[in-house]
C-alpha cells in the first residue's frame, strides 16, 4: 500500500508525519520525494548501502554529419537547441537545462547527426534506518527536472510493504509526480490562513488525481477553520497534533516525533488503521 504525505504549504509537518507513520508500522519503507530539499535522512540517520545516479537524456551533435539545416531547433518545443549556419559550416548550441529529454531532435534529424547521451541530474540513496527501508531522491543544485528524480526514486516502491512517500510542497509537477499512484494521500496542514488556503489547493490536486485523502492538523489550536473546510468537503480529519514547544525543540534537533514522544506511536498506528478502513 502506498500512502503519500503532502500539503500545499511548506513547513506544516509532512516529514514529521511521514517518518512517524513509518516508525509506527511494521514492514515499512519511506521514500523522500522532496528532492529539492530532502530532510527525512536528518531524522533517521540511515545507513546508506547504495547510491544511484539519476540521469536524463540530452542530444549530442556529430558535426561531421550535421549540415546545420536547423530542423532540430525548429521542432524543439523547449528552445533547447540553436543552430547557426555560416557558409557551409556552422554550430549547434545545446542548452542542457532547457532540454526535457524527449529525444524528438534525435529521432527526426534528417541527417541522423544527433545521438542521445546521458547527463546526471540527481542521486538516489538507498539504505536502512531503524528497521525501515530508506530511499531518498536528491536533485543536484542548479538542476530543474525534479519530477524526473521523483519518478526514479519511486521505482523502488515495493507493493508488499507499506510505502510512505514524503512529497514536496506545492501543487505543480513535482507534487503531482510524488502523489500520483498512491492509494491514499495524507494532507498535513496548520490552522492559519496560509495553511487553509494551501490545503484547499492540495485537496484539488488529490481530486484531479482521483486519490482519497484525509487531513492531519499540525500545531492545532482553538481555530476551527480547517475543521469547517473538511466538514464542508467531507474530508476525514485523521489526527490533530497540538502545538507544543517540546515537539518543536525535538524537531529542531533532528529527533523524530515518535521517538521524542513515544506515546504518539499508538496514535499513528490507529491513524493507519483509520486509513485502511477508509480505503476499504
Amino acid at each position: 500500500m502506498i500512502i503519500s504525505v503532502a500539503s500545499g504549504k511548506g513547513g506544516t509537518g509532512k516529514t514529521t508525519v511521514a517518518i512517524s507513520l513509518a516508525l509506527s508500522i511494521e514492514n515499512s519503507q519511506i521514500i523522500d520525494c522532496d528532492v529539492e530539499e530532502p530532510n527525512v535522512h536528518i531524522f533517521l540517520n540511515p545507513e546508506i548501502k547504495e547510491e544511484i545516479e539519476v540521469k536524463t537524456t540530452v542530444p549530442e551533435v556529430n558535426k561531421d554529419k550535421c549540415n546545420f539545416c536547423g530542423y532540430c531547433s525548429s521542432i524543439c518545443a523547449y528552445n533547447a537547441l540553436s543552430v547557426f549556419k555560416i557558409d557551409s559550416s556552422g554550430d549547434v548550441l545545446i542548452f542542457h537545462q532547457l532540454c526535457h529529454g524527449c529525444e524528438g531532435c534525435i529521432l527526426l534529424c534528417p541527417e541522423k547527426a544527433l545521438k542521445p547521451v546521458q547527463r546526471p541530474i540527481g542521486l538516489i540513496k538507498r539504505g536502512t534506518a531503524k528497521g525501515i527501508e530508506f530511499i531518498e531522491g536528491r536533485l543536484n543544485i542548479g538542476e530543474v527536472l525534479s519530477p524526473r528524480v521523483i519518478e526514479s526514486a519511486k521505482k523502488y516502491l515495493k507493493p508488499e510493504k507499506l510505502s510512505i512517500v514524503d512529497a514536496p510542497p506545492g501543487t505543480s509537477c513535482p507534487a503531482v509526480a510524488a502523489i500520483k499512484g498512491s492509494d491514499f494521500c495524507i494532507l498535513v496542514t496548520e490552522p492559519t490562513p496560509f495553511g487553509l488556503h494551501d490545503l484547499e489547493l492540495a485537496y484539488e490536486v488529490t481530486k484531479v488525481l482521483g486519490i482519497t485523502c484525509g487531513v492531519v492538523i499540525n500545531k492545532s489550536d482553538q481555530d476551527s477553520s480547517i475543521e469547517d473546510f473538511c466538514e464542508a468537503n467531507k474530508i476525514s480529519i485523521l489526527m490533530k497534533i497540538p502545538f507544543s514547544k517540546q515537539i518543536a525543540e525535538a524537531y529542531s534537533k533532528g529527533i523524530s516525533f515518535v521517538e521524542g514522544m513515544p506515546e504518539f506511536k499508538e496514535r499513528f498506528r490507529s491513524l493507519f488503521e483509520k486509513i485502511q478502513r477508509i480505503i476499504k
Binding site: 524528438g104 525534479s146 484531479v208 529542531s252
Partner: protein
Amino acid sequence: MKQILVISGKGGTGKTFLTGCFAVVLTNKVMVDCDVDAANLHLLLHPEIKQTYDFISGYIAQIDKEKCTRCGECLKSCKFSAISLDFKVDHLSCEGCTVCYHVCPENAVLLKDRFCGQYFISETKFGSLVHAKLGIAQENSGKLVTKLKEIAKEMAEAEKAEYIIIDGPPGTGCPVMASTTGVDLVIAVTEATLSGLHDLKRVLELAKQFKVPIKVVINKYDLNPEMTLKIKNQIKEIEIICTIPFSEEILNSVKAGIPFIEFSKSELARTIKTSIENII
C-alpha cells in the same frame, strides 16, 4: 532599481511573513509573489485585482480519433508514457514536446495551447502587486515566474520604483531558479532546526552558482539556541541581518492577515523594521 528576493529552501520558515514586513518598510516598490504553486502574499496584502490574464504556455497533444489509424508511431516515440494503449493523451503526463505531432503519418495529432493558470496585476495598500495562480497540477511554474518578474520590471520602470520585492517559492528547483535569475540580493530565511540548516546550505550553493549576494535571517532562533549558534558558525562568511524569536504575536498577525510590522508596535516589530532599513 534593485530586486530583492526572499527564499528559504525549506517551506514554512517565514518567507511571506518577512516579505510582508518589507512591503510595509519600503515605500517606492513593486511586489511580486513568485510562489506560484501556493501563493500566500495576497493573504497579507489583500490586493484589489485590476487586471487578470490567462497564462498560456506550451502545448498539449490531442489525438483525432477520426484520423487515427492506431499505427502506434506516437506511442513508440513518446518518452513520457503520456499516450495510452487506446490512443488517449494523459494531460498530466504530456510535457508538450510535440514529437507525436511530428511522427504521426496521418496528421491525427492536434497541438492545443496549454492553459497553465492566471496571473494578476493588483493594487494594495502598500503598492502594486503582481501575483498568479498556477492551474492545479499544471507545469511551467518556472515560465510563469519569469513572466511575473518581467511584468514587475516593466511596472517598476514605469512607476520609477526603487525596489522590486519578491516572495520566492520553496525548494531549489525550476521556480526557484527562475526567481533567482537577475536579482540583486537574495535573503534566505531559515529556522533554527537541523532541516533548516540543511536546506539553507543548498540555497546558499544555488546563490553562489548564480553569483548573487545573499544574506540570512534566522527565524524562531530561540526554539534551539544551540542550533542558531551552529548555523552562525557554519555560515561565517554570510551576513546574518536579523535573528527573530518564536513569537505568538507574529502568528497572530498572520492569522489576522496583517503584515507584522503594521500589526504590532512591539520592540520586536521595531527591531525587524530597523534590520530591513539597514540593508536597503
